[in-house]
């Protein structure tokens, strides 16, 4: 937490901003990449969105009011950028990977940087069948290791609703995998 406070101070100082931004990239680039990758699915798209996200962070850091933690603010930017990307892509293809399970799996398997085995593919399929909200919550809690409090701030949903969605998602996934085995 203290590290974050120090980082924010440096990011808002024009003389220290560049070095602080490099430190920020070292700390959060990898986490934000995986957060984005699970939403946009393919590596190339995730790379594009990641770059846009950090450009927005760099340009918008002076407007960060510190009402939430820095990492929550960055995850929200990454999430919004990913959704914006999907909306843009939806206009082009008229197919949403969020709503169409087949499109989700098709995008995943056609990506040259997907190397999943049968079990991994089954998990992906089970996740793809969740509702959009359950999918988001499950990803953020299970894979990104975020607290319910942080997820609540990022998605602007109450913690109780999130907990309910998460446990429901876990149960659904377990049932689907067990049914396939």
């Amino acid at each position: 937490m203290n590290q974050e406070v120090e980082l924010i101070k440096h990011l808002k100082n024009p003389k220290l901003k560049n070095q602080a931004f490099k430190d920020l990239l070292d700390l959060y680039q990898e986490r934000l990449y995986w957060h984005i990758r699970k939403i946009v699915i393919t590596h190339d798209n995730a790379n594009d969105v990641l770059q846009e996200t950090f450009i927005r962070i760099f340009n918008g850091i002076n407007n960060f009011e510190e009402k939430s933690s820095l990492h929550t603010w960055m995850y929200r930017i990454a999430y919004n950028e990913s959704i914006r990307f999907l909306d843009k892509n939806k206009i082009k293809t008229t197919v949403s990977i969020e709503q169409d399970n087949n499109a989700y799996i098709k995008n995943l398997t056609e990506d040259s940087f997907f190397n999943g085995n049968e079990l991994q593919l089954k998990l992906n399929e089970a996740i793809s069948e969740l509702s959009t909200k359950q999918k988001r919550v499950f990803h953020m809690k299970y894979f990104d290791d975020l607290s319910f409090h942080d997820i609540s701030e990022i998605l602007n949903i109450s913690e109780n609703t999130l907990k309910s969605s998460y446990y429901s998602a876990v149960k659904t996934i377990e049932e689907k995998i067990l049914a396939q085995c």
Partner: protein
Amino acid sequence: MENSNQYNKNISRLHKEKLGMEIPENFFAKSKENILNKVIIPEKTKQTIFWLRPMIAYPMAASIILAIALTFWMQNNDNQNTEQITNTEQITNTEEVKLLNSDFNDDDFLISSLMVADSEMDTYLDSYIINKVMIEAELSEQKLENIFINSVLIEDSLINNYIDKSLIENIVL
């Protein structure tokens, strides 16, 4: 920082093991470089061709500006004088003024001044004074010459009286 690195490694491993998602080799290092290239403008090294200490440069610059300003000011000043002279000539050459100047005396001057526009009054006054002084100077010069020429013709015994009388008349008049 070490904790953070470990955390990042764990997250990457989890995604690879559970979801089968891969990334290119050295992806994060290259991505970091790309992002930095996009957001951080490289500081250009200043290439100074000619450099002077501020202690010398500022007074030098001020002197140059002052010299240029003085040049312009003096040019403008000359132009104004030329213009004034031209105006004076224009007025003195007009038919009205020529008529008025044909027989100069104080009464004529006052009468003729009534016929000059207010805006041209200063110029007219200047021309009057210049003419008056020039004519008077010319006349007095001629008179002095006459005195000396006449003195040659007058007898030596009377010369002192004549010179005194003529000089007094010339100076008083």
